[in-house]
Structure formats: C-alpha cells, structure tokens
C-alpha cells in the first residue's frame, strides 16, 4: 500500500471523522487519497484557520482535532494554531507535507525545517523518513496527543514517503517505553491532603482547564459541596462549575471577580486542581495568598512548584485523585465563618457596569445568555471581547467556553467556532469577537458558507484594539498609539460572502438582533456598535497583588 493510503487508513483506525486543511504540492499524493476517503474534509481559506478549527473541534468534543497543510508556507501558517493548542493542552494531530526526503536540507522549493520550527510548540513531533514507520507514527501521535497532559503532535511526511509502497500494519497497541504518564497518584499524598483539608478554616478550590480535560467536573463539585469550600476557576476552567452555584466565585486573576481574588488572598488553604498558577492568575508572586498552604493536583509534574511553592503536590489524573480524596475526607472542615465572609464579598463586590450611553458589551453578553438560555457554545477572540465573554455569560457546563488562554491568539475565535460547530452541529455556536480580532481570520467566512457551518459572530465593535487602548488609557497617559482602526462594513462583507449581516446601533435593537441571528439558517455577523471606550473591570495591573483591584464599579 502507498504511504498516502496508509495515512488515510491509519486516520480511519484512529477514529478521525473530520479534518481541516489546505492542499499543496508536497501533499498531492495524500490529497489524491482524500478524494476517495470517508473522512469529512473541510477546506479552510488559510492554514491558520485549519489549525484553530481543529483546536476548536477538540475543545468542544474532547476528541483529537486533525489539521493538514503542505510544506513550507503551509507548515509555517499552521504554527500559530499549533502553539495555541500547546499552551492550552489541547489534543491535536497536525500533518504536514515535506519536500522529498533526499532534498531535505537543500533549500528545496517550499522547504522549511518543520520539525525544527515546531519542536518547542508541540508535545512531540515526527519526521517520517521511511514509509514502514508511518502507521506506527500515526498511532503514536494520537496516543501521545490524547494521553497525560494532552497537546499537539506534528507528523511531517516527505512526498516520496507518501508515494512509497509497503504493507499496511496497524499497531493495535502503542508501545512507548519512555512515555508513561502518571494517572494514579501516591495514596500517601492524598491522605496528607485530606488531613490538611480537615483542619482548614478558610479553604478555596482553584480549578483550571485540567478539570475539564480529565472530565472531573462532577467530582470537583462533590468536593466543593462536601468540604463547603468556595470555588474559583481560571479562564481555561470556565464551565467546570456552574456560575450560579452558591459556592461559585467566578474567575480569578487579572480580570477575575474581586471576591474571587479577595478569597484566594485571604485563604488558609488553596486546593489547586488542573491549574498552573499562571502569572495572569497569581499577580505579584511574593505576596500571593500569604497565609495559604497549597495542595496542587496536576498530571504534569512540571506544573508543580513552578511559580508558587506547593506544600502537597499530587501528580496524577484529576478525576482519579478527586475520587480518592473524596473517600479519604472523613470530616468536613468548619467553614461557616469563612463562607459568611465570602458571601459578604460577593455582595459588596458583585460584577457591575453602568448601563448608560451607547450599547454596553456587558449588556450584549447578558442578552446573549438570555436568548440562548445558557445552552450555547461561546468561543472568543482575544482582548476585551474575551474578558466580557468570560465575565458576563453564566456558564454551567464544561466545553461551552472556548478561548485562547495561554497564547492569547487574536483570530482564534472564528475558526474555533467553525471547528466547534463541526463537532457539535446541534448546538448554537457563537464567536464573541472584536472588530480587530475578527479581521485576523475573516477569510473563514467563505469556509462557513461553502460548508453550511452556521456559526454566529457577535462583533463588539468599538473602533479600537480595545484591550491595548485600555492599557494605554490607564498606564500610558491616554496616548493612543496605533489602536484606532477602521473596519469594513461588516454587514456588506457578510453579504458578499453569502452570509447574513445585522447592524445594531441601539440598545433596544440588541435582543431582537440576537434572536434573529440565532434563527437565521446561515452564518451571521452581528455588528454591535458599542461604547468605544468601555473598559474591562475589575482589573489588577500587571505586577500587583491580585487584591489590588482598580477601576470601574468593582
């Protein structure tokens, strides 16, 4: 069997249903096989769109996302999407074509050192130099991408390897002696953690994306309810716990709720689950949670004691560990006083905005929640739109908030929405965008229309690169440097692609426009002209303690 066919057969065995990509010279043998393949193929309009779509598909479904691009520029265009998946631990397999193996290193046409370029942004990568290694490599790639702390894996396949012949053998078992992720933790550590929890007076649970990856949301909720501890989450953890739950503190960190930040700073025990104490979460490190002992549950030992010193590290899968921990906790701590304090903070520092003047982005998010009854998948771009989407929609389920956390990639949300919709066709998928971000991958409108992938894009249009403008306003004396940008008429633009467009300039038009957009059986751009200089609050300036909150009504 030819290498190209072996690849497709291997993808079938790995259970791939859909892939996103773009053809090119070094991939011709593979695309000739894709012509007859049983896998749904989505031709994006840019390779970056393919990588983000595969990423969004993975985040929405939990399955491994697959994207493919040709050698040289195809591969370099994928890299932002690969790095994005890497930073947020998203399982993805990226396939790239490569120049013929005997030309590698000769500056051949469309040649780049793809495995070299992607070495530090993949969990692992492969250059397949012998067709006999191809099926095993694909099996390994899916295994590595989806196990342990997940991440993207790249397979670079020279075009002569795609054409070479060998027998197709699919390895039913992947044997990688040097790769053995830890799933079950040391029981001694769990016992120690249970003891510490029992005597805590002011515990806080701090949950991250790892809870969602490990499908441990139920166990997490049980833990919070059992030990009566308030719970906060990271951007990546949104959806792991219902916003409306009485123990919920919302998101913490730079644009987290003031009460989440006060709670973490005032706690005597932090139980971190699948989170990594990112700098956007901890703020100034030397004053972070000064009285707190820390239990850190994570599958990746490199995440532990990286930024913050941990008292009880527990390495393993969050679901397994939380189950064990629940068994070990015999006595719940007395947190009555603490919960009262937290409740007062929640009341005193509740999220607010002034609903005067032009359309407020917070209002758009609230109305989006009302119209979708909380049942939509929300993707975001990066910047103010992302923070408003994180703060003002009451998420209740995992995998309903899809956002570029670690890398902060503008242009992620739209192709990610496309991928999410492919994975969850029965759900409304809404990209909350800014007028800046949406223009970074706007070409995917053609992909959506051509494939009838009906996603909704709500553009919070303020005529600025809003988050950078906000920083320039607050920290650079309002010297607005290169943040004022013009945009096309988004309604006409949508129309020219065959999508629908709605312009919204008044508050009373917001709700009807949302309802109409959700009803239209097409991809829809809704252009909300919002208050141009609205800021995201609460806010903690970079390098400050996270209870040093500035601005607005918070």
């Amino acid at each position: 069997m030819k290498g190209a066919k072996i690849l497709i057969e291997s993808l079938n065995r790995a259970g791939v249903e859909v892939m996103f990509g773009y053809p090119g010279g070094a991939l011709l043998p593979i695309f000739d096989e894709i012509y007859d393949a049983d896998i749904k193929f989505i031709l994006t309009r840019h390779e970056q769109g393919a990588a983000h779509a595969a990423d969004g598909y993975s985040r929405a479904t939990g399955k491994v996302g697959v994207c493919i691009a040709t050698s040289g520029p195809g591969a370099t265009n994928l890299t932002t999407g690969i790095a994005n998946a890497y930073m947020d631990s998203i399982p993805m397999v990226a396939i790239t074509g490569q120049v013929k193996s005997f030309l590698i290193g000769n500056d051949a046409f469309q040649e780049v050192d793809t495995t070299g370029i992607t070495r530090s942004i993949t969990k692992h990568n492969y250059l397949v130099k012998d067709v006999k290694d191809l099926s095993r490599t694909v099996a390994e790639a899916f295994y590595v991408a989806s196990t342990g702390r997940p991440g993207p894996v790249l397979i670079d396949i020279p075009s002569d390897v795609q054409m070479a012949d060998t027998e197709f053998i699919w390895p039913e078992v992947v044997d990688m002696p040097s790769y053995k992720p830890t799933y079950f933790a040391d029981p001694g550590q769990i016992k120690k953690a249970a003891k510490l929890i029992a005597k805590a007076k002011r515990p806080v649970i701090y949950a991250g994306g790892g809870v969602i990856t490990s499908a441990a949301c139920l166990e997490l909720r049980k833990l919070a309810e059992r030990i009566k501890a308030p719970l906060t989450w990271t951007l990546m953890g949104i959806g792991c716990f219902p916003v409306t739950h009485e123990l919920s503190l919302g998101m913490l960190g730079m644009h987290g709720t003031a009460y989440a930040n006060h709670a973490i700073m005032g706690s005597d025990l932090i139980i971190a689950v699948g989170a990594r104490f990112d700098d956007r979460v901890t703020g100034r490190l030397d004053v972070f949670a000064p009285d707190a002992e820390i239990i850190h549950i994570d599958i990746d030992p490199t995440s532990i004691s990286k930024n913050v010193k941990v008292d009880i590290p527990i390495v393993g899968d969050a679901k397994n560990i939380l189950r064990e921990l629940l068994e070990q906790i015999k006595k719940s701590p007395d947190t009555g006083e603490w919960l009262k304090t937290v409740k007062n903070w929640k009341k005193k520092y509740s999220l607010k905005y002034k609903d005067v003047g032009k359309i407020k982005p917070q209002y758009v998010m609230e109305q989006t929640y009302e119209s979708t009854k909380g049942g939509a998948i929300i993707t975001t771009e990066v910047g103010q739109n992302q923070m408003w989407a994180a703060q003002w929609y009451k998420y209740a389920e995992p995998r309903t908030f899809i956002s570029s956390g670690g890398l902060g990639t503008m242009g992620f949300g739209f192709p990610a929405a496309m991928g999410a919709k492919m994975g969850c066709p029965d759900k409304q998928v809404i990209d909350i965008a800014g007028d800046g971000s949406i223009q970074m991958n706007i070409q995917e409108l053609a992909t959506c229309v051509a494939n009838k992938i009906n996603v909704k894009v709500f553009i919070l249009n303020n005529g600025y690169l809003g988050m950078v403008r906000q920083w320039q306003e607050l920290f650079y004396k309002k010297r607005y440097s290169q943040v004022c940008l013009s945009s096309p008429d988004f309604v006409k633009l949508a129309d020219s692609y065959g999508a629908a467009g709605i312009l919204v300039t008044k508050k009373e038009e917001v709700k009807p426009a949302i309802d109409k957009a959700l009803e239209i059986d097409n991809t829809v751009f809704v252009d909300f002209h919002i208050e141009p200089e609205e800021n995201v609050y609460p806010m903690v300036p970079v390098g400050e303690a996270i209870n040093k909150i500035i601005g607005g009504l918070a």
Partner: protein, 162 residues
Amino acid sequence: MKHIISVLVENKFGVLARIVGLFSARGYNIASLAVSATLDPKISYMTIVIESQDEKILEQIKKQLNKLINVVTVIDFTKKEHVGRELVLANVKYSIKNKARLGVIFSKYIGKIVYHKDDTAIIEAVGDQSQIKSLLDELNKLGVRELARTGQLAISKKIIRR
C-alpha cells in the same frame, strides 16, 4: 553551582536537539556534553555539565527533560556518589626539553604520548575534574597548540534502575 546530569535517551535523530533546546530556550549555556550509544543500541547515554545560576530553573529543566517523550531517565549526580572522568587530547611541541618535562607530568597524571613525529606530540590524558585542571595548567607551560576534550563523563557508583 555546577551540576552533572546524565540522561538516558532513545537513540533517534532529533533527540539531542530536543534536549539542548530546553537549556538554550532558558538562556543556559551547556559547559560540556558527551553522548554515545549504550550496550543497547536503541538507547544513548548523555552526560551534561551545566553551571546553574538559579536552582529553581534547573529543577524545572530536569522536570522538562523527564517530560520529553524520548527521555528514559534523568539523574542529577550533584548529590549522588559517582565517578567522573574526562579525556583530553593535546598537541604540544615535542622538544628535548619538553620530553623531560612530559616525563615528570606523566609520573603525576594518567597520560601518555599517543603520537609523535618531528616536533609534534599528541598527548592523551584522563582524570577527574581537578586532575584535568592541574594537568592542563602544566601542559600550558609547554605550549599547547591544539586541545580537544570529551567533557565530563559520569557514572553512578550504584546501579541505577531504568
């Protein structure tokens, strides 16, 4: 502080680049690096010597090394009993005067002349870090024209489970 780290890795192309990348990405210079296959040709043994400015960063690098898919084992010899050796090859001027002085040097260190012709001698010497250091000081006085060193090799005194 100086750290000697040994890493057992799969003997495949690209593995060395992955390992070195973890150091270079953090602005760490590797003092020496020695790599070769073990008795199992699928596995290579590396000895890496680095001068660490920040123990926390080094701790992170060691964890990251362990996390690499192709890495089997990582051992930091800093607090472990081990034997460390380095081999040096040096090209020195082979004069009558130097011949006598080399005799004196070889009475103190493990070394010999492995090649000589006309006024050229190539010296081979083996020793631990401090021996190599003082040997090089003495050789330097004879005029070293060219020098090649393996960098440290280290092996644990106890058998390490793989």
